[in-house]
Structures are given as C-alpha cells and as structure tokens.
Symmetry: C2
Amino acid sequence: MFERRQPIPIGEAVQKIMQYQLSGETEYINIEESFGRFLSKDLVATCDVPHFDRAPYDGFAVRAIDTQDASQANPVEFEVIDHIGAGMVSNMTVTENQAVRIMTGAIMPEGTDAVVMFEVAKTYEKDGKPFMAIKRSFKKGDNVSFRGEDAKEGEVLVKKGTLINPGIQAMLATFGYKDVPAAKKPIVGLFATGTELLDVGDPLVPGKIRNSNSHMIAAQIERVGGIVHYFGKLPDEFDTCFEAVKNAVNKVDLLITTGGVSVGDFDYLPEIYEKLGAEVLFNKVAMRPGSVTTVASHNGKLLFGLSGNPSACYVGFELFARPILRRMLFSEKPHLRKEQAILEVDFLKANPFTRFVRSSVFIENGRLKVTPSGLDKSNIIMSLAGANSLTILPGGTRGFAAGTEVDVLLLEDQFGSEWPW
Amino acid sequence: MFERRQPIPIGEAVQKIMQYQLSGETEYINIEESFGRFLSKDLVATCDVPHFDRAPYDGFAVRAIDTQDASQANPVEFEVIDHIGAGMVSNMTVTENQAVRIMTGAIMPEGTDAVVMFEVAKTYEKDGKPFMAIKRSFKKGDNVSFRGEDAKEGEVLVKKGTLINPGIQAMLATFGYKDVPAAKKPIVGLFATGTELLDVGDPLVPGKIRNSNSHMIAAQIERVGGIVHYFGKLPDEFDTCFEAVKNAVNKVDLLITTGGVSVGDFDYLPEIYEKLGAEVLFNKVAMRPGSVTTVASHNGKLLFGLSGNPSACYVGFELFARPILRRMLFSEKPHLRKEQAILEVDFLKANPFTRFVRSSVFIENGRLKVTPSGLDKSNIIMSLAGANSLTILPGGTRGFAAGTEVDVLLLEDQFGSEWPW
C-alpha cells in the first residue's frame, strides 16, 4: 500500500517534459480571427512603409528649388494647380512656381520634393485662380515622409511565437496578411477522476462535491492557448478508467487527468500507466502542493496526471503542462514569467519543501509587491479567485518575514520566461 | 477652412463620456463558455464549502474519546469496520474502539470526530479482521475539515464586473453555476473612412495604403470585451459617409469611425455630426497624439470619431472608448490601470502638450521600468507591435531625462483604474 516514490527537483521534472519535442503546426486563419492567436512564422515586411513618398501634414507640395529666394522681404508666389487628398493621385507635373494643395497621407505629386504647411502659406485668388505665397525657404525633403522610412521590405518585424495583439494585427493588415500563419491550437484531452464528483448542474448529496477541477483546468488550457476536449468524469474504478484513458490518448495532442494519482486506496492512475506500458517520467516532485504530479509518455503523447486537490491541480498544470503547450505554440519563452516582489505579510512557518502559494501581485510606487493568499484555511476559496501569481517559497527555510524579496511567477502574463528554474 | 476648435483637458473629455450611463445587460451563458467573460452579478456561495465534515488526509476516522489513554507505553487498538474513499458514504456507525479506513475528501462516518493519519497507525489483522493501533491521543476535530470552513453559504465571494479566470471558473462550478450571469458583450460598430484605403487582400497601388486601423481597433474592441460589427470602409465623400453613419448608428451600442475627423479638406465627420443633429461632446483634446478625437451623442448612442493616424487612433480608443465599454461590462475600474515606472531613456524634447507614447513596460529587480517606443520615426512600426503601455509625458515641460519617474497606463492589464486623471 505504501509505494515509495523518489521526489525529483522541480527543474529536473520540467526538463524531462521539455525534452519531448512536440512540434507545433501552422494553420492559416483569416486576419479577422487572428487576435489572441500566436504567430507561427515571423512577420516580414512585404513592402516598404510608406510605399510611396507622402505628405505627413496638410499643406502645399512644391519644388524646394522654387522657394530658395523666399524671405520676409521677398515673398514667393505659387500657382496652385491641383488639390488632392489621401488616396488621390495628381496627374499634374509640378513645374516652376507651381504647387499642389495636398492633404496628410497623399502621395507627393510628380516634380515636388517638399511640403509647405498651411500655417506658413498665405492663400488668395488672382483672376479666379488659386495662389499661395511664402516668406521662407524650404529644403528638399522638408515635411516629406519618404518611402521605406518606417519599414523596409524584407525586414523581420515580429518573431514567430508572439501573441497577436492589436498593434500586430495592424501590421498584418499593412503587409497584406489576409491569411495569417498561426500556431494550430493544441488539443488537450481532459478527464476528471473521482467517485465523489458531481456535475455542475447536479444537486449536492452527502459525501459528494461538484467537479470544479475540470472547469478550472479547462480555463487554464484556454488561457495558455489550447483547445479543451473534455471527456467527462470517471469513477474510481480501474477498468473503467483504464479503457477511457487508453481510448482517449489517441484523439488528442496531450491528455490530462485530475485525481487518482496519489497513493490512496482508490488512486488507479499509477497502475493504469503501468498497464498501458507508458513510460513514467516522474511521479513525485519535491514541491508543495502538487508533489504527486505524475507525467508519463505513451505513443509519443504526454499524459499529465494532476492531483485532485484543487491547488495542486492548478499549480501542476501551470508548472508542467503550460510550457510544453506554449512550445507547441512556437513560444521561445514558454514558462511562466518569473519576477521578484516584496512579500507583504509574514510567512513564518518552517518550510521543508519548496512551496508555490497562490498570490496576488500588485504594484505600489512602481515596485512589485505580493500578498500570498491561501496561507490559512479560510483563504482557500478566495485564493482561487484572486490569484494572479504563484509565490515561490524555497524549501529548507525557516519561514519568511514581511519585507523579504521573493520570486513570483506571473499567471496572467503573456511574455513568459525562457527557463525560470 | 481653418475651423477654430477649443481643446479641453483629457480628464474633462473622459468625464463627458462617462456621464452617459450606458447600462450593461446580463445574459446567462454556459459555464463552459464563461472563461474570459465578465460577471454581471456577484458570485455568491450557494452552499457551505465543504458542505459536509470530511477527512483532509488518508487515514482512520475514529472517536477522539477512544484515543485519550493512548501513549507509547499503552497502545490503543481499534477494529477497522469499514473502508471508504472520496464520494462514498459509510453506512456504519462507529462506536467504542472502532475505526473506518478513510481516504482524503471522504465524508466523516457517523460517530467519528477525528482522523488518525496512516503514518501514526500500525495496521494488522486478527482472526482475519483488520485492526489498527495508535500510541498517542487525538482531540475532537483533529485532522477534520469542517463544514463551512472554506466558505459559508450566502457569502459574496467575487464582485460583479470581475473577469472570469480559471479560479473563478472553479468557484462557479463548486457552487453549481451551470448558467453564469455574464455581461452581454457590447456591440461596437466600426467604419474606416478614407479614399486612400485598400482592403487587406488588395495589391498596393500608388497613393493608397491598406486599411490597418480597422483591424487594430477591432482587436482593441475584442481585448476590452466587445463584439466588433465592421461595416466596411468609406471613401471621403460626404453623402456616402452620411448615409452610412446614419444607418449604422441604430444597429450597434456604440459607433466608431476612423479618419475624417480633422480639419483637412476631405474630413467630413464634423459636418456629418452636424447634419445628424448629434450633440458634439468635444472635438479637440489637449493631448498628442489624438487631439482631434471627436465624440458625439445621437439617439442615446455615443459616436467616436477617432483620428485616421494609427497612433492617434489607438490612443483615442484606449482613453475614450475603453472605459465606457468596460462600464457596460459592469467594471468598477473601467479605465486603463495607471502605475509609476522609471523612464529608461532620455526624452529631452520640449513637450508643450501632454503626450501618450506607446511603450514597453518591463520589470527589473522588482521595479517597473519603461522604454517608450516610437519616439523617433524609425520606431513607428515596431511601436505598434511591442507596446504594452502608454507612457504619459505631461505637457508644459522641457523634456524628461532617463531615470525620471513617469506615469504609465498598462494596456494588457485586466485590473483597471477607478479614475486615473
């Protein structure tokens, strides 16, 4: 009954998973569906930006050479021979002492090389024709946005693996990416095991609780960028669980189970992995919560056996499943982002194992601070809702006083870490 | 041609918008679709958690009174009369010197009031019946999780307006919220105006550019939590634009146009608002970029006329449209979150107007730092992609040296500010 398990360090456990080079795939999606997806190829400038010389202000396009003698004492006069807005092209060629009235963004007319802003031009009519005069000179290129000034064709502007935000969506549009190369969302299978589990719509009965882990993990899968394939809940019966896991594993990129992974009398996952012939990468990690997290490999697929305890389940997913999923989304920084923060409260209990405490990071006067939640029992429920981070309290320590600097892993961040361990 | 506009302070402009009490609506959605949505009602505990006394560890459930004489010298023996896992209910009543083998999460059997962990129990058989013995005493309640210990029925656990994250999804499941009261996503209509605009799939032609603003704003609308209704792009022709805007306004909760709002010769939005009979809340704000942002009210709907310049368009949406949309999503902190950060680079240009510079906030040794992007022309394109914040550089200043503390508005944050101005 008392199986001996050898705990391994967290970093080693993560490494054992990451050595599986599950490769991501590309799918082309409409740009209108690309927000929040991950680029699977670099975003390359397909043209210069701007791709023609243009006016950055409203004004008059002129030949600089015609302005060189203009001064307070000697205004120079120009005939305004055309009038264009952005998107229009003048079919006039500007010659000596001619100008084209031009709006912001419009292409510079043939022959012109400078723009005179409205504020410095005096406009009037002569014989029913529009004219303008200036009292200063302009140099070639004054007030002109030149072709390629913002970006050159062929430049790599955004690296693959980057989350598509509004700015990147603007760039995709600029460069004509109607179909965007996006990382295909990995499909993550999910089972909850436990005879105690009711569905969310079920009334409560003594001894049973509603299955919350599946909904939590489903949201965590969505947050990381995967698609959830929920196979349902399973009672703690060996044959039922074995068949279910065996059939499910081929339908998904990755399979997660919650519960059944500890050393309790009805925890069948270890035996299921054995009967499947799966290679167990580890079944105990030197950490709290989540020490019984078990990861196995079968037919080239990874099987994540997360604890049925909600905190352990949550942490196990973020530390172990998140990075391999983000790798499949082409990320170069697939792990949770790690930063330093000042601990706001005492945590004076001796701490034999490294602990991951769900916590709330906030900023005060530009400094990261953190309040672990769920340090005492009454906080367990609220810690679920308020957590935006995991505070790492290293093992082998006598506790931490308020004011100590601690490492935190940021849960809502999309930037990530290369290797936080 | 030179219309005089009176610029108003940013805070005043925001206030003029926020006085419109556009009310949010509730819709009930399946819990499986609730991740990333906003609660429109408080999440209330519909039962105690746990809702029965339960074992927090694997062990033996006993009556504490039977253990009181146990010691190293005097082991006390218990007959193990039943064996239950989580979700099972023992139908035995435990009496003197009896115990039930119990797994984590299982309901405490009738008569028991303490749990003896496996580690301190010696198990053996006598006459084919299971027994266990202990050498220490236990108090009533030792190793028991009591009903209501984590949450009490009726408690408000999460406030309305909160974004549903994985932890909240777990709580919704725990409390049986199969149908979740979520803020209905506001529908935001969107037009791009400008004769220069091509669609994303169009080849480039001289003088024209692909419409990137619509894709950018669409992503910004999605990021804030709205639904985009894109009506297409419009040429700079008064009648076409007027009819389009007039027809669209009744189909959406809020209407955004990009471009046509400045004082250029082909900027028709001001006249369109006039002909519609819309009340213009403001048409000039003391800021850069985005000073020509115009907001009007018509038939109880707000019309946002954003600049056609990408930076101005982006900033105008975040400062002016975001908060009213978040208000419709029941948020109590609808504005962009404001924090302090250390400026990493010099920005020594005199600064007559308050500037919002797209920038990249990062954390170094627990301190927020910020590098504005797009301070020089060559950065314009990259500033689109990398921006996670807007640095506020107040007007009437002579520039800022690296190391100065500045205010930043965080773009990817979901927490928000109550009133940052």
